[in-house]
Symmetry: C2
Subunit: 218 residues, 2 copies
DNA sequence: CCAATTTAGTGATATAAGTTACAAAGAAAA
DNA sequence: TTTTCTTTGTAACTTATATCACTAAATTGG
């Protein structure tokens, strides 16, 4: 990949020497959709910067129960990988590609070096911390203060925006897993939304009304 | 305050020129117990470093419901203040002194300057992000995966450690608020713990058995 | 095409937690 | 001391969610 392409993928980074360094030191990695990039306990050796596709970040319980936290999109990186790596501790989360994904793996030492060397890298890292804290708080608000029906509607909106479509190709089980509940609960709640004519259900697909977001916030 | 005292209060910082800068630029602030330092919507103008006492950090819902996140102890600072300040956005959390507390308020510009100037400040900030992410995950695990009785027991342990005592001077209502539930629920659950002889209840006080922590993890 | 598997629908029941409604004990104030 | 306020105890009830036990439809693999 050449400089111009990389520059286009990383809107937050424009400094040519930083881009050059990224190209030189970063390893280009490609993953198919649904690939588990890391799991709790695994050691992370690189800071992943998403170039194409997206990765979903989940928290996992001891008994395997999961909870969706947030998506990483092109141009972004994971704050938890930054902190885990630096402290050389195992991953606290599970990361799964949501679509075919290309990422640039930056060695930790380079991250540390670049913190001093490139102002833009420092800003990039600061922005990452800020965004991720914000998203952790959103996830926390949901589980702490919201009912499952509201969480489900929020989940649908997030997925729609993520995939830029109003047809979600997924199963009730997958939604249930990511919301940390059971399939039956999700099936029932989806049925309620269908009765309200806000969505339509098919096998492996959910069709969402164009004005869904306005409907739920009303 | 002189250098030696400050150095003693901040075990993570030893660089004399950084300590000097902290003394010169930081404003010494004292608060009584129970004082609300910041609330959602308020703008934070300084990065607070705890010198004495402690501060509890809470997330607040739109309808005023609260949720305890973590304590800030001497030598620590708040990651959210770092991110909020830098982006000049209002506070996302509520901070209340748990005891009489002394803190050093560092202007944001100095934080930014010191990031380049002092390696120890950079490390301090990195450590802060790491610790706070970890504690956010603990809070998230609790609300996402644990039942209220387990959360209550965890809360008791945290408070015991924080105050270094096995007598908690608090009301059921205060516990309920910090766990985001109602007083009746806490009263009932505490009664269950008393029936098991793990604690004893008094007015405004909870006596906790010395081996409480072993009991709950069994 | 048929059998096996995956996915979804749904009633019945269980449980944790939230709510309502008081009573009563203890502490503080008058 | 009497009154008032705060705190706690508790029963009764509601609600949200979880679990169990199926059925049935759709899809896949032979």
């Amino acid at each position: 990949m050449e400089l111009e392409v990389l520059k286009q993928k990383l809107p937050n980074i424009s400094d040519p020497s930083l881009l050059q360094a990224l190209l030189k030191e970063g390893a280009m990695l490609e993953f198919p959709a649904g690939k588990v990039i890391t799991e709790p306990g695994k050691f992370i050796k690189m800071v992943p910067i998403i170039l194409e596709g997206s990765i979903k970040i989940l928290r996992v319980d001891e008994d395997g129960k999961e909870l969706f936290l947030y998506y990483l999109e092109p141009g972004e990186t994971c704050a938890l990988s930054l902190t885990c790596c630096s402290a050389s501790r195992p991953s606290e989360i599970k990361a799964v590609t949501e679509e075919p994904t290309v990422l640039l793996g930056v060695p930790i030492q380079k991250h540390e070096e670049w913190m001093d060397q490139f102002k833009q890298w420092k800003d990039f890292v600061a922005m990452t911390y800020q965004t991720r804290f914000q998203e952790m708080l959103v996830a926390l608000d949901a589980v702490a203060f919201k009912r499952m029906d509201q969480r489900l509607m929020g989940y649908i909106v997030t997925k729609m925006k993520q995939h830029k479509t109003n047809e979600l190709h997924t199963t009730h089980q997958e939604i249930a897993t990511e919301l940390g509940t059971s399939r039956e609960v999700i099936s029932r709640l989806l049925k309620q939304l269908e009765k309200k004519k806000w969505i339509e259900l098919g096998r492996n697909i959910i069709y969402i009304r164009d004005d869904f977001e306005e409907l739920i916030s009303a």
